[in-house]
Assembly symmetry: C2
Homo-oligomer: 91 residues x 2
């Protein structure tokens, strides 16, 4: 199954209330050999800063999940976007 | 199925040759209502810059895929990481 299909299937059908725009950032760090370092917390904060350069991000509309497996850790950030155009198109 | 399971299942079993560390960044932009703007190219370049602050990234070891669906577009960046610790732990 392609990633696009998985992401589509894992979404609730948009009701009128949830019919918005959403950004989902997923970072998977796979460590199969050698020293393992926890990379995800480093990236999490900076990624949000990058996204904030383009869109207003309401901290209450940001959901962060970290799932740590033996050989793979996954950081998932779900952001509900405001309607309208990103900052860069406004300037 | 949880995202962590999907990501594990979608990986080839690590042979000795491929037993390295890998970073996978996925950005899904879901547009259900209102004006749609293509957000992903904006983020792609900057995300790599953020990652480069922490780890040496060999451009030949970066694979970028964009998959555009009707209501959801997905950017997938796969980076094979060098062995050893990230920059931040070296300074």
């Amino acid at each position: 199954m392609r990633l696009l299909e998985f992401l589509k299937l894992s979404r609730r059908p948009p009701s009128a209330e949830t019919a918005k725009q959403r950004l989902q950032v997923i970072i998977a760090h796979e460590r199969t050999a050698g020293p393992a370092y926890d990379f995800l917390p480093l990236l999490q904060r900076e990624l949000l800063e990058v996204i904030r350069k383009y869109v207003e991000v309401d901290p209450n509309k940001v959901k962060v999940d970290i799932d740590k497996g033996e050989s793979i850790s996954v950081l998932e950030v779900n952001i509900e976007l405001p309607p309208g155009l990103p900052r860069s198109q406004l300037v």
